[in-house]
């Protein structure tokens, strides 16, 4: 019993067969998920997989059709306000009061939280790091700048748990990097981060664990290194001229090479694992161009988990 309580208190999020359906439309089905306190948990899935539905159910915005969920040890339906006092939330699609500046809005949120001037100081600090403009009315801000305000409102009161739905939407690559660093620092301070994404690279960069959702079902919870270890790339190599057939055969027979095609001086294929040998062979010829692109998440999921999640 004591062990069970200790286990429960070490969890920031726990769901029990959590299900949410929207009539005939799919939602999420029997999701059993645990997120430990002090970890960054990436929630990965293609668009429409059920990421937002899961997050919105955890936030108490959606009532579960069946099953239940606990956040910070509290039931999400009956203790919604107490939970929100201790968490920060960034929705995927949101808008803010057009006529107000970011700072006016943050002051309002600080009033609601009773977090006072300390949190507003933290907001200024975050704004500086994200190059966010807190003193211009929302209606004059670009999508990316509004997203920064959204990020700040989720973080400025240093919550125990940070829930973010596609947080890097609209941020430029430089700011994405800074934002991910902020998340890592939050984790180092003991805060828990649960964030959804459909971008594998940002999840693998910061997440301690990755949950993968597809068609409303949690198909795997993995170490991000294991996920990326299995990742493959679409490769296209164009040489200055035709290359000898033995080199072509050597590349085709490399470990992890699949879907190999050879047309004139161009090779296209997928490769998983290390590209070291490939580069060594290719470098023996005059390479005009080499493209190595990660496949879209939908394709990756189909390759990893097939049509049947089991």
């Amino acid at each position: 019993m004591a062990a069970a309580q200790k286990h429960a208190s070490s969890l920031a999020i726990q769901t029990f067969d959590l299900t949410k359906t929207y009539g005939a439309r799919r939602g999420i089905h029997n999701v059993n998920l645990t997120v430990a306190r002090g970890e960054i948990f990436g929630f990965l899935g293609p668009n429409g997989a059920g990421k937002s539905t899961t997050l919105r159910t955890l936030l108490g915005y959606l009532k579960p059709t069946s099953g239940r969920a606990e956040v910070l040890g509290l039931d999400v339906r009956s203790h919604s306000v107490a939970i929100h006092r201790r968490l920060g939330n960034l929705p995927s699609e949101f808008s803010l009061e057009d006529r107000m500046t970011g700072f006016q809005l943050l002051r309002f949120y600080a009033d609601l939280r009773g977090s006072g001037t300390v949190s507003l100081g933290r907001a200024r600090e975050l704004a500086k790091r994200l190059d966010a403009n807190l003193d211009t009315p929302m209606r004059r801000l670009s999508r990316g700048n509004k997203q920064k305000i959204g990020v700040i409102q989720a973080l400025f009161h240093d919550p125990e748990l940070i829930i973010l739905d596609e947080p890097t939407n609209g941020l430029d690559p430089l700011m994405q990097g800074e934002f991910l660093s902020i998340l890592q620092e939050a984790r180092d301070r003991g805060q828990t981060v649960f964030f959804s994404s459909h971008v594998l690279s940002e999840v693998e960069r910061v997440a301690d664990r990755v949950g993968i959702i597809r068609d409303g079902e949690l198909v795997a919870v993995e170490d991000p290194n294991a996920l990326t270890g299995r990742a493959y790339r679409h490769v296209r190599i164009k040489f200055e001229g035709p290359i000898d057939s033995s080199s072509v055969q050597r590349i085709a027979s490399l470990p992890g090479v699949d879907r190999f095609e050879h047309h004139d001086s161009t090779l296209t294929f997928t490769i998983g694992g290390s590209m070291n040998e490939l580069i060594q062979i290719a470098s023996q010829h005059h390479v005009r161009s080499l493209d190595a692109v990660r496949p879209p998440l939908d394709e990756l999921f189909l390759a990893y988990y097939g049509d049947d999640p089991e």
Binding site: R85, N89, P91
Partner: protein, 270 residues
């Protein structure tokens, strides 16, 4: 411990939210105040030129009864049939309807609810706070209506007491509040702001029509009890009908309670 946190939250968020709403709708209220001042002032100002121009004996009796047309030689009677009998009961409810249709359906539609409810604010604070703001602004607007009418009448040396002017203004408050509460209830149930706005707007006109038809046709006069405008009465000439006012405030309160329950139960979509 958890209970403490919830209690603190309940106490501490209603005031900031309500204050925020006051500021957010201040400009709208000021524009309404300016518009009402100009319109009410004009109606009183044109009275001397129409008081002798219209022969009300030419108007059929039941039509006169339907629109409270009794005696245009008296300003109070003229205002009862025109400003306080038709225009304001049809127009002023829109102040509350427009604002309160936004509280849930409008905010959800525009994606504002997600961020707001990400804060530790109980859902019922949104309902109660917004309604309180609209109720206060409406009280001020109805007071302005009474004040402008009385000042203009005095300025033009017309026969109208302050008591008559202000009770006519304040009698609008329960009526407009009831329609605002209907809009709030709709907003808590439906997902489209257009519906939360459109249905109460249609109800305003429909109820007005029902009240007029009930006055025109004595055989169906019972239908008037289904109209909010029946309970509004004719305060400028007959004084405030307190029972009617209580019915309207009660209906408004019932709609607010319904809105709280409906909002607590509903899903909030992105």
């Amino acid at each position: 411990m958890i209970r403490d946190v919830r209690e603190i939250s309940t106490r501490s968020t209603l005031l900031p939210y309500t204050r925020f709403q006051y500021v957010a709708h201040r400009k709208t209220a000021m524009l309404w105040a300016i518009g009402l001042t100009i319109y009410c002032g004009l109606i009183v100002a044109i009275y001397p030129s129409v008081s002798d121009a219209i022969d009300i004996s030419l108007i059929p009796d039941n039509l006169r009864a339907a629109f409270n047309i009794n005696d245009f030689t008296q300003l109070a009677s003229f205002l009862s049939s025109e400003l306080f009998g038709v225009i304001l009961p049809l127009i002023l409810p829109f102040f509350g309807i427009i604002i309160l249709s936004n509280v849930v359906a409008g905010a959800e539609e525009r994606g504002r609810l997600d961020v707001l409810l990400g804060n530790p604010i109980p859902r019922f604070h949104l309902i109660v706070g917004s309604f309180a703001v609209v109720a206060t602004y409406l009280l001020a607007l109805t007071g302005i209506v009474g004040g402008v009418v009385w000042l203009m009448a005095n300025g033009l040396d017309l026969d109208l007491t302050a008591r008559q002017a202000f009770r006519a203004g304040f009698a609008l408050w329960p009526l407009t509040l009831a329609f605002g509460a209907l809009s709030l209830a709709m907003s808590s149930v439906v997902r489209q702001r257009a519906v939360a706005l459109g249905v109460p707007a249609a109800v305003v006109f429909l109820m007005y029509l029902v009240n007029v038809i009930g006055k025109l046709a004595p055989t169906v006069s019972g239908v008037r009890f289904a109209s909010a405008h029946h309970y509004y009465g004719s305060a400028i000439t007959e004084g405030i009908w307190w029972i009617g006012a209580v019915v309207l405030v009660g209906a408004g309160g019932a709609h607010v309670i319904f809105a709280v329950i409906a909002f607590n139960r509903r899903d909030i979509h992105a």
